[in-house]
């Protein structure tokens, strides 16, 4: 039993590590933190492998573990750290400085974890509202509202000039992440 379990787990992780890392990177916007997140998620994946392999969609389960670990980690350690210096979690749009407001990446990075995770599931994983709701453990209505709030926050962070200009150039200025400047990234 144990051997079978280990073999299945190892095979799965080897096959899916790249995609899990990419998803984690999109969630964290930081490859080093993404690897930490994947590391933690893989431990949980192993612990619950009996349940994971019983699920018909192993990838969906693994994705859920990763996303929930991301939200949990942000809610616990990261939020505590950041709230000491800025309290941006409650007011993401107002927490970024003027330069960062022009930066789509900074605006998205300033979102609360659950809102960012919602955007990632909807616009990176291309999940529909119901599928996103299953992973986030909330209602489809909450996914819709979280998506709307997140996009609205990003629009506001980008400023009125961009908000009225779909596809405006400043918003697509994807800069190389330095790990600084964007709240929530060490």
């Amino acid at each position: 039993m144990s051997g079978s379990r280990d073999a299945e787990y190892t095979e799965y992780v080897a096959a899916r590590l790249t995609s899990l890392r990419r998803l984690a990177a999109v969630l964290c916007d930081d490859w080093q933190r993404a690897d930490d997140l994947v590391q933690a998620a893989l431990v949980k994946l192993y612990v619950h492998w009996g349940r994971v392999r019983a699920a018909s969609h192993t990838d969906a389960y693994a994705r859920a573990v990763l996303v929930r670990e991301f939200i949990h980690e942000r809610r616990s350690t990261w939020v505590k750290r950041v709230s000491l210096s800025g309290g941006v979690a409650d007011a993401p749009a107002a927490a970024v400085d003027h330069d960062a407001v022009l930066d789509l990446r900074a605006a998205v990075a300033a979102l609360p974890a659950r809102q960012r995770a919602t955007l990632v599931l909807r616009f990176y994983c291309d999940l529909n509202v119901d599928q996103s709701a299953e992973i986030l453990g909330c209602s489809p209505g909450t996914v819709k509202s979280q998506t709307a709030r997140a996009l609205d926050a990003v629009r506001r962070a980008l400023g009125p000039a961009i908000a009225g200009e779909p596809g405006g150039q400043p918003a697509t200025r994807v800069v190389h992440h330095t790990g600084e400047g964007a709240p929530g990234h060490d």
């Binding site: 190892t10 990177a25 009996g50 349940r51 955007l119 990632v120 616009f123 596809g167």
Partner: protein
């Protein structure tokens, strides 16, 4: 559209993958096994350099640990032939500063307890500070010499051979069978009983070290030490702490575990087979447990042994973080049972049935069951065989089956 910009951003991030991954899948695997508690010295795809590393550990430990011979326990009380799964049996008498008891578990043949540095209330603990003790029932473990061809692990790929003649602690419990701990050196006696260091180096180069001692006649115990890298002074300190902790462990602890639910009207042969428990204020709360009707069989999930056709449970006080149930879009249905919203999930391959209640009288619970034809379905168990006792420990019970 802002959506398209966000999509482009995410795609750009995902495609900017650096060449080197820092994810250590071996380490994740090993820590997962450690969390399951039912692990021994083997790690899947076991360390390629293990055979060499074992020898290295022998040398290192031999230099660090003073040789204090102690004989086998030939007199005194014998180890229990079987443990009472409703009581912890062992507890720590001393822990290093900053370390506290995190969780424990009971089975008929094996009991265990873990201590670590708590990160924050309600959060997980740091694996780097984790101490874990297994105590085996009488006759379940023996010191043996590895014959030629013995390996540290059997799955998924056979690990490297343990050098012939290496002594190891071999245990026959279902959870431990096949994962011997190579003995690497003599340890200071634990309460006058003979003791050894054991372990190996993982693929990642971490020393996976154990203190092994005979806690009673015909009974062995093993303590997994925290993972300490490249710091001989800390490793030596950890070894001293391990011996002190082991020497002050209390055996025969009969403090009853408390269960937040009580099962009723079940077949008389159904009994609690294994439990994991957590400290909850001043009591020990049974967090997950399985039922059994005969010899333990099958496998493990989240640290529990489970048996075909019988349920196992995970129960926590409901919080905003735990009151969500995962629902498989293709195999789950949402129902209301006794006024509580639940998610029922049925998977055909393998035959597995789950019930999740996010908040039932202040409790978040999962009931799981394998088998094509369970005698009582998870929905029936929840609906007709379960008394919810709420969040207040004063109302919990030490008799999980009424």
């Amino acid at each position: 559209m802002i959506e398209s910009q966000v999509r482009a951003l995410f795609t750009a991030i995902a495609s900017s993958e650096p060449g080197t991954s820092h994810v250590n899948t071996q380490l994740a695997h090993r820590r997962g096994r450690a969390r399951l508690r039912w692990r021994r010295a083997g790690v899947a795809g076991a360390p390629i350099a293990a055979a060499v590393a074992v020898a290295a550990v022998v040398l290192a430990v031999g230099a660090a640990a003073p040789h204090r011979p102690a004989g086998p326990v030939s007199t005194g009380p014998s180890a229990p032939r079987q443990f009472n799964v409703l009581a912890p049996y062992l507890s720590f008498g001393w822990l290093p500063p900053g370390i506290s008891m995190m969780q424990g578990g009971t089975g008929r043949q094996l009991v265990w307890v873990t201590a670590a540095h708590r990160l924050a209330p309600g959060l997980d603990w740091s694996p780097a500070t984790e101490w874990s003790v297994n105590v085996d029932a009488a006759g379940k473990c023996h010191l043996t010499t590895a014959p030629s061809g013995t390996r540290t692990s059997t799955a998924p790929r056979p690990g490297p051979s343990i050098p012939p003649g290496t002594k190891g602690l071999n245990c026959s419990t279902p959870a431990q069978k096949g994962y011997p701990i190579p003995i690497t050196g003599r340890a200071p006696a634990v309460s006058g009983h003979r003791a050894f260091w054991g372990g190996y180096h993982t693929f990642a180069g971490e020393p996976n070290q154990y203190l092994i001692w005979q806690y009673a006649r015909n009974g062995w115990a093993e303590m997994a030490l925290p993972f300490i890298l490249h710091n001989p002074a800390k490793q030596a300190a950890a070894q001293r702490d391990a011996v002190k902790m082991a020497s002050q462990i209390r055996y025969g602890v009969a403090t009853p575990l408390l269960f937040p639910v009580q099962l009723t009207n079940l077949p008389s042969r159904w009994q609690v087979a294994s439990v994991t428990y957590w400290p909850h204020g001043k009591v020990l709360r049974a967090r997950s447990y399985s039922l059994g009707a005969g010899p333990p069989d099958l496998g493990f999930d989240g640290g529990l042994q489970y048996e075909t056709g019988l349920p196992y449970f995970t129960i926590d006080p409901a919080t905003r973080r735990t009151n969500n149930c995962y629902a498989d879009p293709h195999h789950s249905t949402r129902e209301v049972i006794n006024g509580y919203r639940v998610v029922l999930t049925d998977n055909r391959i393998p035959n597995r049935h789950d019930l999740c209640a996010g908040d039932a009288d202040g409790l978040s619970l999962d009931i799981s069951q394998f088998g094509a034809h369970p005698a009582i379905s998870v929905a029936e168990i929840f609906g007709h065989h379960m008394r919810l006792l709420g969040r207040n420990p004063a109302n919990w019970t030490s008799k999980p089956i009424g």
